[in-house]
């Protein structure tokens, strides 16, 4: 059974349909990507999945349970890291726990071991404005993880970073995901990033936005450093560009 599933999600805004009949699945341990041009409704779909927006039709199922329109179940992370500038990194990371009523001391004790794992140890008492973009993004990911340790919804998480930091973050993210057994659904408009990170890619396109294609990236093709230059990669890229092109 899929960990997270959407069934026939449709959303309209001011009488215009934005997304229609979206059916996607995220299995345990998978990294699935939603790829589409700007305005295809990717973020709208995320708002529905995280419960911030109620869909006109359809359901969101998390471990088989209907969580449509219920916020506080799955947290998501935006391109902006949204670390609160007036809280230290550790207080930012413990926020999901303290919001649930965990005591400050207890919350800190629980998050501390992860600082090492996420590569941000030593930053606990710093304020966000003292950290670089990559470090802030790691801290924000840790906060997302503290909120829901099974599924991470990431909305263009790395798009604000420079190319080199981004590439480092990709490698880091794939490793950390395996370590903490996190399943990820993420949005991007970066085709290279999608091929590099994903197990599967959903192409979202058209007006109203709907899933136009689903592409599985074979495990033997990915996760080696030369991927970006390999022939497989170009084949995937061609196929994706064609799929996106067809929808426009």
């Amino acid at each position: 059974m899929a960990l997270l599933k959407t069934e026939n999600i449709s959303v309209s805004y001011d009488g215009t349909k934005i997304i229609e009949d979206i059916n996607i699945e995220l299995n345990d341990g998978e990294l699935v990507c939603l790829l589409g041009v700007s305005g295809s409704g990717k973020s709208t779909l995320f708002n529905v999945i995280s419960g911030l927006l109620a869909p006109d039709n359809g359901h969101v199922l998390f471990k088989g349970e209907d969580i449509t329109g219920r916020s506080g179940m799955l947290s998501y992370m935006l391109q902006k890291d949204l670390l609160l500038p007036y809280k230290t990194i550790i207080d930012n990371v413990t926020l999901p726990l303290t919001l649930r009523g965990t005591g400050k001391k207890e919350a800190r004790k629980r998050v501390l071991p992860y600082f090492e794992e996420f590569g941000i140890s030593g930053c606990e008492r710093k304020y966000p404005n003292q950290l670089s973009g990559g470090m802030r993004q790691r801290a924000a990911l840790l906060r997302t993880y503290m909120f829901s340790d099974e599924v991470a919804l990431l909305d263009e998480p790395f798009s604000a970073l420079d190319t080199i930091t981004k590439s480092n973050m990709h490698t880091w993210y794939i490793n950390i995901m395996k370590q903490i057994r996190l399943s990820t659904l993420f949005i991007t408009h970066d085709i290279d990033e999608a091929i590099l990170l994903s197990d599967r890619i959903y192409i979202l396109g058209g007006r109203p936005g709907h899933i136009t294609d689903e592409i599985r990236i074979a495990p033997e093709d990915v996760r080696h450093t030369d991927l970006l230059l390999s022939e497989h990669f170009l084949e995937y890229k061609k196929r994706i560009i064609k799929a996106i092109g067809d929808t426009c």
């Binding site: 916020s71 947290s75 949204l82 609160l84 007036y86 304020y127 404005n129 950290l131 670089s132 990559g134």
Partner: protein, 275 residues
């Protein structure tokens, strides 16, 4: 490597301090010195009779002579100002939180609050005295009225400045309106609050003094009226300087409190911890 970095850092700190002194401290000191020198010259010349325009030296003498009396009166004025300011702060918090939580209330009250600010406090002071007598009450009420506005408007702007994405994030984490307020809106408005408070502490002293002009048994305003009636202009000037001195100290206190309460504002913006 580390050592050279440290030297550079000390050098820049020293440079910054020097830059601060030459750029920010020396020019106003020169301006004030020129002003006082000109004043001294004027009062010594035939242009201005010395009883109307006492020389700076005379004012300083009056200031020293009156010091114990000034302190006594200041105690009264400060008490009125602080009580009024405290009530003003509490009131502005209550009103702005309610207005932020309830949109119709905001729309209804915001113009009213702005309009009340166009009424000069000096015009309502006599009315307050008529209604509430010569005691401490009309003074406190005037201080409350004058200090309420800058803080309330500051808070309301601060609540509005809260990042909508941050609010959305907390909502996605299941935080209700109260928690969203505590974790996002309140901290976001702190800077605005202190800007308002800085203005309000100065207003609180002015408000108390104006109100004391109209009657009372002690206070800097009462003292001012007395020395004015006895045509002691040098003592008038010394009270004025004393009052502005108090206001400046209070504003400085607000800046220090802000520095203590908002540690994240004083940290350097430099990027560290890159791996």
């Amino acid at each position: 490597m580390k050592k050279s970095q440290n030297t550079i850092r000390t050098n820049t700190t020293a440079y910054k301090t020097l830059h601060f002194i030459t750029g920010k401290i020396i020019p106003p000191v020169i301006a004030i010195a020129v002003f006082i020198a000109f004043w001294q010259y004027l009062s010594g010349s035939e242009l201005m009779p010395s009883f109307m325009m006492p020389s700076p030296a005379k004012v300083i003498k009056a200031f020293i002579n009156d010091w114990p009396v000034l302190l006594q009166h200041a105690a009264t004025t400060l008490r009125e100002a602080f009580i009024g300011l405290a009530i003003g702060i509490v009131l502005s918090f209550i009103v702005s939180i309610l207005m932020d939580a309830c949109r119709p209330l905001y729309n209804a009250l915001y113009p009213v609050i702005v309009v009340t600010q166009t009424i000069p406090s000096i015009a309502i002071a006599p009315l307050l005295t008529l209604w509430l007598g010569y005691g401490i009450t009309p003074k406190i009420v005037l201080v409350v009225i004058t200090t309420f506005f800058p803080i309330a408007v500051g808070l309301l702007d601060g609540f509005k400045a809260a990042d909508p994405d941050a609010l959305k994030l907390l909502k996605s984490m299941g935080a209700g309106p109260v928690k969203r307020f505590i974790h996002i809106k309140l901290p976001y408005s702190l800077g605005y609050f202190f800007s308002g408070l800085k203005i309000s502490v100065a207003y609180s002293i002015v408000g108390a003094v104006i109100s004391e002009w109209l009657g009372g048994s002690s206070g800097l305003g009462v003292f001012m009226t007395r020395v004015r009636k006895s045509f002691a202009y040098d003592r008038m000037f010394s009270v004025i300087i004393f009052i502005s001195g108090i206001s400046l100290l209070l504003m400085l206190a607000v800046i220090i409190i802000k520095w203590l309460v908002m540690p994240w504002e004083r940290r350097s913006k430099s990027v560290t911890g890159n791996k």
